[in-house]
Symmetry: C2
Subunit: 432 residues, 2 copies
């Protein structure tokens, strides 16, 4: 575990570059071995990792306590300290999640397509691992285990870069992961933690480490994702914003609209699948707008509305143009009345973030048009936007949600952490 043994920070930039390059080369070599690992071997590794996390919980919690103390001393926010803090229950949850990932079906080796050509060639498209996945995260120490386990399950190598706040916790969890890999006969380098808090390490990862990183997954706030998307020279699986809409169409059942709207906005306000804007069809505004807005206000949600929405209740404040493009991640919603489906779609395309958008209606034609024309990774009909989640999709777990169009879109689970190759089976065919 050479990467894990480097406890000190690098002396200078040259050192950093050299060490990062070495991490990249080790990851690439490990990825070749991982790609050939059987489902059983990977599952042994994951079960062992879960056990080791449980067995070394005292050590992990001690390291985490040091992280938390340092974060408090440096005046970090209560929200960050909450995200950073582990306890017995959270750590047990981390171990359980690793075990659950182990129990998922192996995504590697699936036959995605097969076709026989007139000349007798049999061509198969077979799922293979993506290669080396770089994960850059901030304060949540569970990402070490979650992301590492997902990469491992899909036969990839992972290079994990923890935020400086969670560095000690991440290193402690990574030790358990290395032990699990070794116990299964897999290369410990398949999951490496960048052993420095130097922010330049992130820059090095974003260059792809000379072809040794195939994709970057940022896990953290907007500023991290923005930097990664701006600077990465390799593909990125990410979403910058989750500006999700609930469109209540003329054909909506009011009770269902209210329930789905409240769930979409208020179940958890801080997740990317939380609704940020309510659109109500003018054709049903007379009957639906007041009960919907009142329900939001009564549930403790701030409402920023256009003129029609403000007319409903004096508690509604005016929405500015910026509100339509704001991801509040809080108990606030923007709301407006629109002139039917086309206007709703226009609003979403002009202001949304191609993440998750919902229509509520009993009119199937309208619903089908919304699902076809709204260009988002996830479009829902009569279902909460908060279903935007790999677990809810049945993927078992996710490494994130992508709003890019390439390769992975929506929840990124183990299937999306694979690519494919073509195997061509012949018996002497030549091309005429």
């Amino acid at each position: 575990m050479p990467a894990l043994n480097l406890k000190s920070e690098f002396a200078d930039a040259d050192d950093l570059e050299t060490q990062m390059a070495a991490i990249g080369r080790r990851a690439r070599a490990a990825a070749r071995q991982m790609a050939l690992a059987t489902a059983q071997t990977k599952d042994v590794a994951l079960r062992t990792i879960a056990e080791r996390i449980r067995q070394t919980s005292r050590e992990i919690l001690r390291e985490n306590a040091r992280d938390v103390a340092a974060a408090k001393a440096s005046g970090q926010s209560a929200a960050l300290i909450d995200r950073l803090t582990l306890d017995e229950a959270r750590l047990a949850g981390i171990a359980d999640a690793v075990e659950k990932i182990g129990a998922l079906p192996d995504p590697v080796g699936r036959q995605l397509a097969a076709f026989e050509r007139p000349n007798g060639l049999l061509i198969e498209r077979i799922a293979v691992p993506l290669g080396v996945i770089g994960v850059i995260f901030e304060s949540r120490p569970n990402v070490t285990a979650d992301a590492g386990a997902l990469c491992l399950k899909a036969g990839n190598a992972a290079i994990l870069r923890a935020g400086s706040d969670s560095h000690r916790s991440a290193m402690a969890i990574a030790r358990a992961m290395s032990e699990g890999l070794t116990a299964a006969g897999l290369p410990a380098d398949a999951i490496q933690i960048v052993p420095t808090r130097d922010r330049a390490a992130v820059g090095a990862m974003l260059t792809g480490l000379a072809g040794c990183i195939d994709v970057i997954v940022p896990r953290g706030g907007r500023s991290l994702v923005e930097r990664v998307q701006a600077e990465a020279r390799v593909p990125v699986f990410a979403h910058l914003d989750g500006i999700c809409h609930v469109y209540v169409a003329a054909g909506a059942d009011l009770g269902m609209a209210r329930t789905i709207l409240l769930n979409s906005k208020m179940r958890r306000t801080g997740i990317c699948g939380a609704a940020e804007t309510l659109l109500v069809d003018r054709a049903c505004a007379g009957t639906h707008l007041t009960p919907l807005v009142t329900a939001l206000l009564d549930a403790g949600c701030g409402v920023r509305g256009d003129e029609a929405v403000r007319a409903v209740d004096p508690r509604v404040s005016p929405a500015s143009d910026e509100d339509w493009r704001t991801e509040y991640l809080d108990a606030i919603i923007s709301a407006r009345v629109v002139d039917g489906l086309d206007a709703a779609i226009e609003h979403i395309e002009a202001n949304g973030s191609h993440h998750t958008d919902a229509i509520i209606t009993e009119d199937q034609v309208e619903a089908m048009r919304f699902l076809a024309e709204v260009d988002s990774a996830i479009v829902t009909h009569n279902a909460s936007t908060q279903f935007a989640d790999g677990g809810e999709f049945g993927f078992g777990a996710e490494i994130g949600i992508a709003t890019g169009r390439m390769h992975a879109r929506g929840p990124v689970g183990i299937e999306q952490l694979t690519t494919f190759k073509y195997r061509v089976h012949g018996n002497g065919q030549t091309r005429p």
Copy 2:
């Protein structure tokens, strides 16, 4: 057809930037309409384009003759002039290819997966167009029609940038394409030609035109691909090299090995799927090496070999280390003897380009190991490397071959020019 009406070059860099941004915006708007076009509408457009190419062949050939005259006057190579030159037969082939693409099944709207969740949600993964595809090509005027037609068929908008040598030919063909789009009621902006020979236009495309280009496809020589891969800030479908290997294993049938080797190397030497290196297992070198090397030499292929290969025939010249990493694209092959399958795989992983590699053997176990462990987009068993082609794969046509790992790998056909979205069908579900 605003883009096509701009016949003069831009006055200065600001103009270029402004005009390229406008092309990007028009493409994005057209892409939204294209995504909703029915299969029938797209096929009408493609049939009309084929007809218009045939009907305006005199005009296209006249413009092409001007390109050819200019290329000759500026002293371009005979090879470039051959690639550039159209005649009646080649133009008829271009029209036929467009018609054939029209006849392919629509890749948009396919249900790629569907799963019902325990809460009753039905989740579908549906193929949708990628969006806007930027194609940067050099001297072959047929790329205008081929690439444009493939993008159209998959519901995308295309921005095509012709090399300055083929600019007039490309504009003439693009006119036919605009007319076909318009005749079908589709936006003419769905296929735009960059109306300038200014090389800075390529730079602008590589930035993605402020999010208006989703993927870049370079079609041309190594230096073009290298520049695109180095500078692009958006995903790229491409291959830099096709350093394809034929590995003749101990279990190979000699006759089959000879036939496949000759086809892999000599059928056409200038294509990316042509073999560049022969590897022969030491275990069969005694019987197989001399006939294989002699067959190559007798077919007019230059052979650069290691010591064992040089011992076969005085016509073999010595191979340098560089030869193992050289794509000759010519009647030259590098050849060496290796110590069995592991050494062959090592050689390919160290020197290859992850494009297409073949094993010749009757030993199924050895074949399966090769197919699993060689990390290339295409791996073949007892079949020529020259099958690396979308047409040969049954894709109808291809826009190129990709050796990257993300999204598209191997031949890039219309299916690879789509992405997907999730449609979630509920009846009031909320997330607990």
